[in-house]
């Protein structure tokens, strides 16, 4: 057997071969448990649930990081989804697996917009969503988003009328391959540009159209940089006329 293993591209570590040394065997045992638990499930498995199966005091974070690294170059990767972990196929292998792809209904532009607003501004109320979009949001749009299980009601804002606040779900993270909400694409840049605020940021300015000289004066390099980073330049646009 050891010959075959040596020849294998994915050999087991030698630690396992003469596996009598206590700590290594113990770690292997734990790794196997972690693998089995997460592998068996389609849904991400809560870190707590894994910890419950391991000896008390196990550094589960380190253990999971190790397993994650072991699978980093494999066909299947260990990914973190919020407080949970899941095995997912490596994203470069999507072409292989089209057969498994589930045809999902595509969300309307309006629904996508509301979803993005909820993701980036959460917790956010319906009134705030409407303020951002400048249009009344139909109840149906929120229902559809809730139906996707990407959006949930979080609670109520402590303001008069106690409006419901919306946010994203772990399913949302799972679906879009995000470890946590903080990993939303462009989040830092949007924050830096003040575009996630409800008020115009203090340093926010647009050039006055009737005053080209002012345009120069009003050019806030910080704002301009941010806008470029945000990808606000639509494809094909030179933007510097």
């Amino acid at each position: 057997m050891s010959n075959a293993v040596e020849a294998n591209v994915l050999p087991f570590p030698h630690l396992l071969e003469g596996a009598d040394s206590g700590p290594a065997t113990e770690t292997l045992r734990m790794v196997r448990i972690v693998e089995a638990m997460i592998f068996a499930s389609r849904e991400p498995v809560a870190e707590k649930a894994i910890a419950a199966r391991l000896p008390e005091g196990t550094d589960i974070g380190e253990l999971l990081a190790d397993v994650q690294m072991a699978y980093a170059n494999r066909g299947v990767n260990l990914v973190r989804v919020g407080d949970a972990w899941a095995f997912r196929t490596a994203d470069d292998l999507a072409f292989l697996l089209q057969k498994e792809a589930v045809e999902t209904r595509r969300l309307s532009k309006a629904a996508l917009e509301v979803m993005a607003i909820i993701a980036y501004h959460q917790p956010v109320t319906r009134a705030e969503i409407e303020e951002i979009r400048g249009v009344v949001t139909s109840k149906g749009t929120l229902d559809v988003l809730m139906e996707t299980a990407w959006v949930r009601m979080r609670g109520r804002r402590k303001t008069p009328g106690r409006p419901v606040t919306y946010g994203t779900t772990p399913d949302f993270l799972d679906h879009f391959g995000l470890e946590q909400v903080r990993d939303l694409p462009g989040l830092d840049e949007l924050k830096g540009a003040g575009l996630l605020q409800s008020q115009v940021p203090a340093n926010f300015a647009v050039p006055m159209p009737n005053d080209d000289d002012d345009l120069q004066d009003d050019e806030d390099p910080f704002t301009l940089d941010d806008v470029e980073e945000l990808g606000l330049l639509t494809p094909g646009g030179a933007g510097d006329e």
Binding site: A40, D91, E100, L107, K109, A110, V135, S138, F176
Partner: protein, 278 residues
């Protein structure tokens, strides 16, 4: 999407999922002359207009944008098109913005300056645009079920349900007693009515006929079988039917003097014919 004739209605009804053939609004309606269909409110319309002006939102002329929008609303009115309230509110606001931008503010004016108002609008446009970009970025990520896949054939956790049922003897007895009690009160048992079958009646009649010396009323004849008044109608009906059969066979005679008068019967050929009774 925005129904101009019904400004108070939801602005998004019926289009929650992307239509299979999305229409490019700017192509179908390059000048935004009259049609607001396909726009999701005034901000969306303004964004589309801004794009015709400049691709870089940070460099658009807010004043030009405001004028373009006001012109659009004017045209719509000329054509007597009803615009959703949102569009008119925006028009009013933009008219105010325009005046603030063009006219110098009086000394000590507490109102926001034209510049501040313009910033406010530019901010809202950029914020909305940023959210749209974000949505596109999100949707272009490697998505679960499309680019990345979960375990196709998961091995479910078998939940070994150890149910512990709680019930004590008192519960049990209470349940039993109360439901029996309930049933004993609510259920009325209808005793089965004794009905003689025709053959039963005939057999009994034949057996009894030997005792008939003379004309005998049927109810007397059957007296011993009619102790229970409930049985009476059934017994009479069955034996009458059976007696008719015996009459047909020539074994019995029956007579009745009037409707509902007592029925008399006697055996034939047993005794000499007696005098008819009155």
């Amino acid at each position: 999407m925005n129904n101009p004739t019904n400004p108070s209605a939801d602005q998004e009804t019926g289009d929650l999922w992307e239509s299979p053939t999305p229409v490019d609004r700017t192509l179908s309606d390059p000048d935004f002359t009259v049609d607001v269909d396909g726009f999701e409110g005034p901000l969306d319309l303004l964004l589309a207009m801004a794009r015709t002006q400049k691709v870089d939102l940070s460099k658009i002329s807010i004043l030009a944008l405001a004028m373009q929008y006001l012109k659009f609303v004017e045209q719509a009115r000329k054509l007597r098109l009803e615009l959703a309230a949102d569009y008119l509110v925006m028009a009013a606001w933009l008219a105010y913005l325009k005046s603030r931008l063009l006219l110098p503010a009086p000394e000590g004016d507490p109102e926001p300056s034209g510049e501040e108002l313009a910033n406010q609008l530019a901010f809202r446009l950029q914020r909305l645009e940023a959210m749209r970009e974000a949505a596109v970025h999100l949707m272009n990520r490697n998505r679960l079920g499309r680019d990345v896949f979960s375990r196709g054939d998961p091995e479910p956790v078998v939940i070994d349900r150890k149910q512990h049922f709680s019930a004590n003897l008192f519960d049990l007895l209470t349940a039993y007693a109360s439901q029996r009690q309930r049933q004993s009160v609510s259920s009325v048992t209808i005793a089965r009515r004794e009905v003689w079958s025709l053959s039963d009646a005939r057999e009994i009649l034949t057996r009894l006929m030997g005792k008939l010396s003379d004309w005998t009323p049927l109810d007397v004849f059957l007296a011993e079988y009619m102790v229970d008044p409930e049985e009476r109608p059934g017994v009479i009906a069955s034996s009458f039917a059976a007696s008719l059969e015996l009459v047909r066979e020539g074994a019995l005679e029956i007579r009745q003097s009037d409707s509902f008068a007592p029925l008399y019967m006697r055996q034939i050929n047993q005794n000499p014919v007696p005098a008819a009774q009155g």
